[in-house]
């Protein structure tokens, strides 16, 4: 959690937008994931979101589903994800790592054991897609006690009255899902994002990241004009799957570098 807060404080002071790529752990292999993480950081990623493979990824579109299936074909589980974070953390003490996935693998490990292992491995935040605040009170508290940030989603369909309930539990940053649909879908409405972010900021003091549907320089810049962070998943995974595994890190790194340059070319935001 401290690493997340420090990262956003540093970026805010510099008037810069955070860049948060999402990748699936174990796709195409655990070794490759570690290389991809390092390449993403070297090319300008500020936070890494690591997907935890799940057999039934209901909120994900076809690209992340495929990545999850590839990872599961190699029997990648939550324990392996934590092991990757531990190895990453051994050489990178500052870049925050957020785990993103579904409830069942965590419940199978046990929430208490998971929180211990995640803290020990050097995880900073956890986003469980199918734990809305109604079902996450105890879990969020447990994470907080372990110095881990519970990250929550906000959606275009979230009523304004409900944002407070999310804000009460959320730490680190909140993640605004920029469209109704699954990850990787293609109908981003920037004006709607701007309107909704203004509404969210009336209730949330944490940084707001925006994701789902960002896939190129134009959409990244459009979102960055309003958001504190840009989250990109499916498009990064397409780079990883789009060639031989040995070149995955280089391809993902080169692609994220184009987004980094585009974000840095924007005028600096005034520090809040």
């Amino acid at each position: 959690m401290k690493r997340i807060d420090a990262t956003f404080a540093r970026l805010r002071a510099a008037g810069r937008t955070a860049l948060i790529p999402y990748i699936m752990t174990g796709d195409p292999s655990l070794e490759a994931t570690l290389d991809v993480m390092r390449a993403l950081v070297a090319n300008g990623a500020d936070v890494i979101e690591l997907g935890v493979p799940f057999s039934d990824p209901m909120a994900d579109g076809p690209v992340i589903q495929r990545a999850s299936e590839r990872a599961l074909a190699k029997r990648t589980g939550l324990k392996d994800v934590l092991a990757v974070v531990r190895r990453f953390r051994a050489k990178d003490a500052t870049t925050p790592v957020v785990l993103m996935g579904y409830a069942n693998p965590i419940e199978a490990m046990g929430a208490a054991a998971f929180a211990d292992h995640a803290r020990d491995a050097g995880v900073d935040g956890v986003l469980v897609v199918d734990y809305p605040p109604e079902e996450a009170g105890e879990f969020a508290e447990r994470l907080g006690n372990h110095g881990l940030a519970p990250i929550f989603l906000l959606a275009p369909t979230t009523p304004e009255a409900r944002i407070d309930a999310v804000a009460a539990l959320a730490r680190g940053y909140v993640y605004y899902v920029s469209l109704k649909g699954v990850t990787g879908a293609g109908h981003l409405d920037t004006a709607e994002v701007a309107r909704k972010l203004a509404e969210i900021r009336r209730h949330v003091t944490l940084p707001v990241g925006v994701g789902f549907g960002i896939r190129d320089v134009a959409s990244a810049q459009a979102v960055a004009a309003y958001a504190d962070a840009v989250v990109i998943g499916s498009r990064v995974i397409q780079e990883i799957e789009g060639g031989p595994p040995s070149g995955a890190a280089a391809r993902a790194g080169a692609w994220i570098a184009t987004i980094r340059r585009a974000l840095d070319a924007m005028p600096a935001k005034r520090a809040a």
Partner: protein, 410 residues
């Protein structure tokens, strides 16, 4: 056990149930909850639901004493609740009518559904035609192959059938895909879930709509048999026919409730779909319940001769009923179900669905151990016309295939 007042306001049956969905769906579920609460108290809604069940579905369905089979078994009397006689041939239509009426109240012009065997898909397509709603049904591509006749039926009724190619290409993947559609089209679309699972308020709502089965039995059994049954037996996949017949009997403490899961090739083989008998609690498809999963929390592929029971989870209220001991859950193999299927055909002149044949098999197992004045009431949840190909294949026969589709005759 007294009649309980569950689920609680947030959809929990003890530790089970709940609302485990992505944020995007929360508002739609809140709307649905509010709309259902108001419909539940609205006499006009109840009256319309009742009229539709009577005139369109053909309710009440009879209870029937399977005298010949009972005599052959030489023990307890077997009675059947004939849901197979409903319009569309199964209990699924009860729930679909209730939910389609809700969709209309919510002003949603489009309905979606998931289906395994195709019975819920057919029932959904049927009510969509009846009420003039656009209808899309998601079905695993493996099931599309296994249940070609139901696919054709749905198309005749005007529905679009989407074959799902992800994951294991069966019911759970169809459910994932329907959820994805709903997240994307949540403003215009009503999701008709076919069983007593999923996020709150579905387990409650589907149970309420299916309870007509058990309520009819409560009045029919004293008239036909002179008293209430000693045991109520129903098959459990997601568990909607079982919940529908069990729930009105929960307060009748002397009545044993037995749910029958699919043991496939045997519980020890790993090839089964018995989530209560062999699973562990976890979270899937919006609720916490017993799931077939591996040590990493990945959901397992399941197997049953009956596509309608081929699901790795189960309704959360069944999980609660098992934990509290009010209901027992047993498992019946493919072979036992198939044997009961054949006996029922030949001895009673009724072709049961393979799902229902699991409940019949358990009744046939226990009847000989009980005296002749005992009464077993079995939910005959559907008819077996849809299973002709499966049964023929298992018996090594080929039919329902015109001569020109037989490669040896070309």
């Amino acid at each position: 056990m007294q009649m309980y007042d569950l689920p609680d306001a947030r959809g929990h049956f003890g530790p089970y149930g709940g609302t485990f969905v992505a944020e995007t769906l929360i508002r739609a579920l809140d709307e649905l909850k509010a709309q259902y609460e108001s419909a539940r108290l609205d006499p006009a809604f109840a009256a319309e639901f009742g009229r539709e069940l009577k005139h369109y579905v053909g309710r009440p369905s009879p209870v029937y004493h399977a005298e010949r089979w009972s005599r052959e078994l030489g023990g307890a009397q077997i009675w059947m609740k004939r849901e197979d006689l409903n319009h569309t041939g199964a209990h699924k239509i009860n729930n679909c009518i209730g939910q389609a009426l809700l969709a209309r109240r919510l002003g949603k012009p489009r309905v979606i559904a998931e289906t395994g065997a195709g019975q819920h898909g057919v029932a959904t397509a049927t009510v969509a035609a009846r009420y003039g709603l656009e209808c899309v049904v998601y079905m695993g591509s493996e099931d599309v192959k296994r249940q070609a006749q139901n696919v054709f039926r749905m198309k005749l009724l005007g529905a679009e059938v989407v074959a799902v190619e992800s994951g294991s290409k069966t019911l759970k993947d169809a459910l994932n895909e329907a959820m994805r559609d709903w997240v994307t089209n949540v403003e215009s679309t009503y999701y008709i879930i076919g069983t007593v699972a999923g996020p709150h308020p579905y387990p409650l709502m589907v149970r309420d709509f299916q309870c007509v089965i058990g309520r009819e039995c409560l009045t029919q059994m004293p008239e036909a048999a002179g008293r209430q049954p000693d045991m109520v037996i129903a098959c459990v996949g997601g568990g909607s026919n079982a919940m529908g017949i069990f729930h009105p009997y929960i307060a009748h403490e002397q009545v044993k409730l037995v749910g029958v899961e699919a043991a496939g090739e045997g519980l020890a083989s790993g090839w089964h779909a018995a989530s209560l008998s062999a699973g562990r609690p976890g979270v899937l498809h919006g609720n916490r319940t017993y799931l077939l999963q591996n040590d990493d929390g990945q959901i397992l592929e399941t197997h049953s001769i009956s596509a309608g029971l081929d699901y790795p989870g189960v309704g959360p209220e069944h999980a609660w009923l098992m934990d509290t001991g009010r209901a027992q859950y047993v498992a019946v193999t493919d072979d036992e179900a198939l044997a009961a299927f054949h006996t029922c055909c030949r001895v009673e002149g009724i072709i049961p669905a393979l799902e229902s044949a699991h409940a019949l098999a358990y009744a046939a197992r226990v009847a000989p151990t009980l005296p002749t004045d005992r009464i077993l009431l079995v939910s005959l949840s559907g008819r077996g016309d849809k299973d002709m190909n499966t049964v023929a294949e298992r018996s090594g026969l080929r039919f329902y295939c015109r001569p020109e589709c037989d490669p040896s005759r070309r």
